[in-house]
Amino acid sequence: MTRILLSRVLPAALLGLGAAFILLPFVWMLSLSIKPRDEIFSTTIELLPSRIEWSNFTFALTRTDIPLFLWNGTLMVSLILFFQILFAVPCAYALAQRNFLARKLLFGLVLAALLVPFHVTAIPIFLGFAQLGILDTFQALVIPFVPSAFGIFLFRQFFAQLPSELFDAARVDGLGETAIVWRIAFPLALPAATAFAIFSVTAHWNDLFWPLIATTDPDLATPPRGILYFRDQESGDNVGPLMAAALVITAPLIIAFLFAQRRFIQGIASGGLKG
């Protein structure tokens, strides 16, 4: 009896305590987002409201630009992912399955690029975009992320495991290399592509650094940038709708995670290879 208490109940209780700490901001956000105004500003601790106040959500979704921010975010992460794959996959295929002069050098370059966090390149990219006059445009949010050394690396590792006979057979059948890349190699690399997509979408949906630098127009705000506009406008007055907005903004990723936990964890954990 004591043994079971020590080996099961005690650890489980500790894990539960830790889980409560992890859930604290989620629960408080959810609680405030469905509380009526007067209960938010009361000083007694109540997790559950006396009645569910949906108007916080209707306010966030109809009287603010949150839907626009969600749309901007969706469009931005989709375009970034599309171009990252478009650029990375052919390069990764050539690195893994073709022999050319500068192959080792190029792979070295990719590994070196992995070491550079985005923050390091921000100032020169900002300067360049200012010269070109494309700061504060939607393109500015997408273009810097088109080259993904991590994408090239991930796809290269995957393609390197595929037998070269597969591609020789396709060549015998008369397929050109571009067709081989997109019609044979890429569909086979779907597991790698899923992991990469999850990593890329999460990273860019959540990013605040570059949107804060590259755009000042509220109409171009991504969800994290947008919620700060909303918060600063309301100056602490509209807590309920603000929490509803925070919930709406983080919901897409949380829902995706809950539905595809294993893939999600794999995708994000694979990012640990990145410098």
Binding site: A12, A122, I123, P124, F209, I227, F264
Partner: protein, 299 residues
Amino acid sequence: MRLSLDGRQALTDLWLVAPATLALVLFIFVPVAIVAVLSFSDYQFGAPTFNWIGTENYLTLFSSTIGRRAVTNTLLYVAIVIPFSVGAGLIVATGIHRMAGWAPRLSNLMKTIYFLPVAATLVAMSVAWQMVLHPSLGIVNQTLASLGGQPQNWLSDRGLVLYTLAMIGIWQSIGYNMILFLAGLAAIPPELYDAAEIDGAGGAWSRFWTVTWPMLGPTTLFVMVITATNAFRVFETVATMTGGGPAFASDTLVHALYREGFVYFKAGYASALTMVFFAFLLALTALQLRVVERKVHYR
């Protein structure tokens, strides 16, 4: 004119790799070179001219109170986050791993909960944390008050703010470390535990110290370096909750480079901050490579 076979092959290779290579050079290597060069100038965004000022930006960074604050704050933040996040990640992973043996569903639920902050949008969660820690409306101070404790200004007290941010950094990264440790735990052959039991190490405590901990050693080093790399980049929570304040008490390297570069437009000085940040990260990566090598030898 017809190309030789080799020529055509070379053109194909070029067609496949040139776009990505050019983009990498244009958006990563050229900017790194420019930022290194700019760090020796007094360039300001929009200024018509600039001067070469040698290492003055670096001297300012390391001799001014504000510059030193950014460096020491970042180091202190990293130094707090590493032990707590890695330690908690290890404890949670061990607990969840063992729980999977007798309550697989509960163990999976725990894993999901601990991973939630990693999947969530940090800026939105920072806004939520602001309300949790709100001086009067927050649940933390309300609980403290009802227990007779002293409410605190978690995010506006100079002596407290960096620890509050570190606590949130720990909250955010435990789940990630847990996943890495769970992978490490799954790789430990069960025979080792049987052998330990025969040798008399039957209790959970002695099993941990005789088998789990030595086998996880390399994973732990790896997790520590990854945690450090991520902690060095702390920006979202600072920018959202404190703006580096009050009085630069929570200013960190990335936040300082953002403020100096893109709020005050001091490109030269911000470039020096960038280079210092980059140097720290490169040192960590060098450490990481050595650790990964060791991990391979260990197996």
